[in-house]
């Protein structure tokens, strides 16, 4: 119990520290990219230092859902299911932010909001859809095996996506004119900026995850108590 409390404090402090640091690196430390390097909107490019980490952390969160789902099916301990659910919700939050900020930058840089030809965008979008569906499934099924069904769907959903990423290479070779990456050349400062952003968001993810799990546990405690009182 005591260790848990301390860990929480440590995570909170680290989260705040890295979030502040990431804002500093994104706005002040990292140099502006230059138009000569092929960027048509160099100022707007600074969205990247949060857009890319948000996308990364959402992948991390969905990966956690996948792993927890496998663990849950193996030994059906409730805690794995709780973590999977919490992680899916937070993953959707981060993914939404990444998906919303992407087009804002895209409009400034490319002149269009979205490039469907870009596999990275498409796959992020599909992942987002899949985990929205996951949350709907969790809300919709009222049976005792809800957790098990959600775990199966989480596995299907996440397993398909990396695989379609691999297979998308084949499509790209079929469409030679539309290969577009969302990162240009990267200097080392840009790399550091992105790294700090990823670390900051990862800590934020951990903090949120713990909070979400705590909420879930409280809710089930309340259910228990209600049953107890109802039973007497």
């Amino acid at each position: 119990m005591k260790f848990d409390k301390r860990l929480e404090t440590v995570i909170l402090i680290l989260t705040v520290f890295f979030v502040l640091l990431s804002i500093y690196t994104a706005l002040i430390y990292t140099p502006e990219v230059r138009e000569e390097d092929g960027w048509s909107a160099p100022k707007a490019q600074k969205i990247f230092y949060f857009h890319v980490p948000a996308a990364w952390v959402s992948f991390l969160a969905f990966g956690v859902v996948f792993i927890m789902s496998v663990l849950y099916l193996k030994n059906s301990l409730r805690k794995w299911d709780t973590i999977a659910f919490a992680s899916a919700e937070i993953g959707v939050v981060f993914c939404t932010l990444a998906i919303v900020t992407g087009p804002i930058w895209g409009k400034a840089e490319w002149g269009v909001y979205w490039r469907w030809e870009d596999t990275k965008l498409t796959i992020t979008f599909v992942l987002w859809l899949i985990f929205l569906a996951y949350l709907l499934l969790r809300g919709g099924v009222e049976s005792e095996n809800k957790a098990r069904l959600a775990a199966v769907f989480g596995i299907i959903g996440f397993a398909c996506v990396p695989l379609s990423f691999i297979s998308s290479r084949i499509w790209q070779s079929m469409h030679p004119n539309v290969v577009a990456t969302s990162e240009g050349s990267m200097s080392s400062e840009t790399g550091i900026g992105l790294l700090v952003g990823v670390v900051a968001f990862s800590f934020l993810y951990m903090f949120m995850l713990r909070k979400r799990i705590a909420i879930q546990e409280m809710a089930s405690k309340i259910e228990d108590l209600k049953e107890k009182i109802g039973g007497i």
Binding site: T122, V126, L137, G140, V141, V152, I156, S167, I170
Partner: protein, 226 residues
């Protein structure tokens, strides 16, 4: 495996006795075609303008009509309680899945072929001798769709009230990249006459069919168990 086959035969037999599902799927696919026809009516499409639209129209019809079939394949058994009867039989639970895959595949393919005929009639389309390669793509793409759809249908059947909406909600994001896109691309290429060009897409479909079957084989126990 023989039990899976027995389930499929039983399903097809009951289906053809009542004909409710096949009939509504056929009518639905007809209506989708009609809807497409009237949606494009204003443009009075020439055959050249129609060319890029052929495979998207076909696959959207296949998928939406097919989803009807998936909707009832488990819910009928569940509502009548006969799913428990199947689960009491001494066999692997995945045999139920394979049986359902076979019967769904048969019924949905049937509807696909009728939808193709409707398409030809409405848009007076001429396959120019490319019908065979298109059929190959349709057979493989539909198989991949059925394999993933039957798994999702097994999951969605547990949501009593909203299972009707849950199947498309769960299924569409899953098949977007793994079935829909390769099938449409491959069909377009087959329509141009070079099936060889479509081999990468066909390979993707094959790989994902295997992946979905493997997932179902591993996890279908968890889907059915109470």
């Amino acid at each position: 495996m023989s039990q899976g086959l027995a389930i499929a035969i039983k399903d097809i037999k009951t289906e053809f006795r009542t004909k409710e599902m096949v009939f509504s799927m056929l009518v639905f696919s007809l209506f989708v075609m009609v809807a497409f026809y009237f949606a494009f009516y204003f443009y009075s499409l020439s055959s050249e303008a129609l060319e890029p639209l052929v495979s998207p129209i076909l696959w959207v019809t296949f998928f939406f009509a097919g989803m009807f079939g998936l909707l009832t394949s488990f819910s009928k058994e569940k509502d009548r309680g006969s799913l428990e009867g199947l689960m009491l039989c001494p066999m692997d639970r995945s045999a139920i899945y394979f049986g359902k895959v076979l019967s769904n595949y048969f019924l949905i393919l049937l509807v696909d072929i009728f939808a193709l005929i409707f398409f030809v009639l409405f848009f007076s389309y001429d396959f120019n001798g490319n019908l065979l390669p298109v059929l190959v793509v349709v057979f493989l793409g539909t198989f991949c769709f059925v394999v993933s759809g039957t798994l999702i249908s097994g999951i969605a059947v547990n949501a009593q009230d909203i299972r009707g909406v849950l199947i498309p909600i769960l299924l569409i994001p899953i098949i977007l990249l793994t079935v829909l896109m390769p099938s449409v691309n491959a069909t377009s290429k087959a329509l141009e006459g070079d099936i060889i060009d479509a081999i990468p897409e066909l390979r993707i479909l094959g790989v994902f069919a295997v992946i979905y079957i493997a997932i179902a084989y591993l996890l279908f126990d968890f889907v059915l168990e109470e």
